[in-house]
């Protein structure tokens, strides 16, 4: 049976996010993901609050990157969280966002190698081992915790491109696929399956999650209005190949990119088309969202993650998902 996850961006104060997290837990969500960007509030402080105020939901950073936070420190934070909420903690690790990294003067060098090495280092040190590691990107010279970490913590690898998806299938206990459209998810799952095969694992041993931009409301116009800003940023950051795959006019995308650079939100949001919304979000009435999720499930995902904006009113949207959408997939 498919699991439902929910993602929050700690741009909001912790108390709003934790209110929604408690609501989501009560409403049948199994996973809570908190994004990790240096310009928002800290992911681990937010997760610590979640650990204290929730009882059963599984949670973790979705996702952190090894460039800004050394994997040794990531392991320390995750192992400590696992003491606060034993067996409820997972790690989401990805290569990060190039633009954000550049803004702090960090180069995204060898992303595949960096993620692979970071996961190896994380697993070793998080299991209590002393680590000597001579990688291409990371070097560790005998680091070891002075406390005994508890249990084994599952690692989810965040991925979008084919090589990272394959690596994610190969080394991950889970994969977070950044995609919303059935065509993209199907393509991604095939790459993940290739990696799973290389590692000699079975598909059901890996939790494959579609990490989506989501917006639901009983009124389609309200759902759409909430998702347009998010979609405009996704379009602006998407490569031409991906845009063309969805029949999106490259000139329109360029227009959005320029408008966003100029902080001309009206022009940027006004240029978002219905094709863009369909390609880069799961958006609509509850019935429309159910239909789209059902299509995504056919691609082989085992977790559906409801990501920003969730809805025009987050509390109402979580109620709709809990009362109408999750039960539909549990019968």
């Amino acid at each position: 049976m498919v699991k439902f996850g929910i993602e929050f961006v700690p741009r909001e104060p912790y108390w709003k996010i934790i209110y929604y997290a408690i609501q989501a837990e009560e409403g049948g969500f199994g996973n809570l993901w908190i994004t990790d960007h240096f310009n928002n509030r800290n992911v681990y402080v937010t997760l610590a609050a979640a650990a204290i105020h929730t009882n059963k939901i599984t949670f973790g950073p979705g996702v952190t990157n090894p460039y800004l936070v050394n994997p040794v420190f990531t392991a320390q934070a995750i192992a400590t969280l696992n003491e606060l909420a034993p067996n409820r903690v997972v790690l989401g690790m990805g290569a990060g966002d190039k633009t954000t990294l550049e803004s702090v003067g960090v180069e995204m060098q060898k992303p595949l190698t960096a993620v692979q090495e970071a996961v190896e280092i994380f697993r070793k040190i998080a299991s209590g081992e002393g680590v000597v590691y001579e990688g291409e990107v990371f070097k560790v010279a005998g680091a070891k915790f002075l406390f005994k970490p508890k249990g084994r913590i599952p690692v989810y690898v965040g991925a979008q491109g084919p090589k990272m998806l394959e690596l994610a299938g190969k080394i991950g206990d889970g994969v977070l696929i950044n995609a919303c459209h059935p065509k993209d998810v199907e393509y991604a799952v095939n790459s993940v399956k290739a990696g799973i095969g290389q590692a000699g694992k079975k598909l059901d041993e890996v939790d494959v999650a579609a990490y989506t931009s989501f917006s639901v409301h009983e009124d389609l116009k309200k759902a759409t209005k909430a998702t347009v800003p998010v979609v405009s940023f996704i379009v602006a950051g998407s490569p031409s190949l991906l845009l063309e795959r969805h029949g999106i006019d490259i000139k329109k995308a360029e227009e959005i990119r320029e408008a966003l650079k100029a902080n001309d939100w009206g022009r940027a949001f006004g240029a978002v088309t219905s094709e863009m919304i369909a390609a880069f979000s799961v958006c609509g009435t509850p019935e429309m969202c159910i239909e789209r999720i059902a299509l995504l499930l056919k691609s082989g995902i085992s977790q559906f993650v409801v990501g920003s904006p969730i809805g025009s009113n987050v509390r109402e949207a979580i109620n709709i998902i809990s009362e109408k959408i999750i039960p539909h997939f549990q019968t």
Binding site: P13, K16, I18, Y19, H53, N313, R315
Partner: protein, 95 residues
């Protein structure tokens, strides 16, 4: 302000609908910086334990709602036929 006194004046039958309104005001407010963390933690504790609609939960919600969205909160009293409480809170805020 004696928030408990005002909550005690609210008919028990209106607690659920009123707390729902207050939660909405608090979560959609743009005045996040006005929320004291201790009060936020009290609200989360009540929410986690399913007692946000209890008397003590309502006291915390009312305090937060009046800090973040005073006008909306006072109007909500009037909308729910509790104009007398709205008036007393207004007087209390002005004094």
């Amino acid at each position: 302000m004696d928030y408990r006194k005002f909550v005690e004046m609210i008919p028990v039958g209106k607690w659920e609908v009123f707390s729902d309104k207050l939660v909405d005001f608090i979560l959609t407010s743009k005045n996040d910086e006005k929320m004291p963390s201790q009060l936020a933690n009290t609200i989360l504790h009540h929410w986690q334990h399913g007692v946000l609609k209890s008397e003590s939960g309502l006291v915390a919600l009312l305090q937060a709602a009046l800090l973040l969205e005073p006008d909306k909160t006072i109007n909500a009293f009037s909308e729910l036929q509790m104009a007398n409480i709205a008036e007393q809170i207004r007087e209390s805020l002005e004094s």
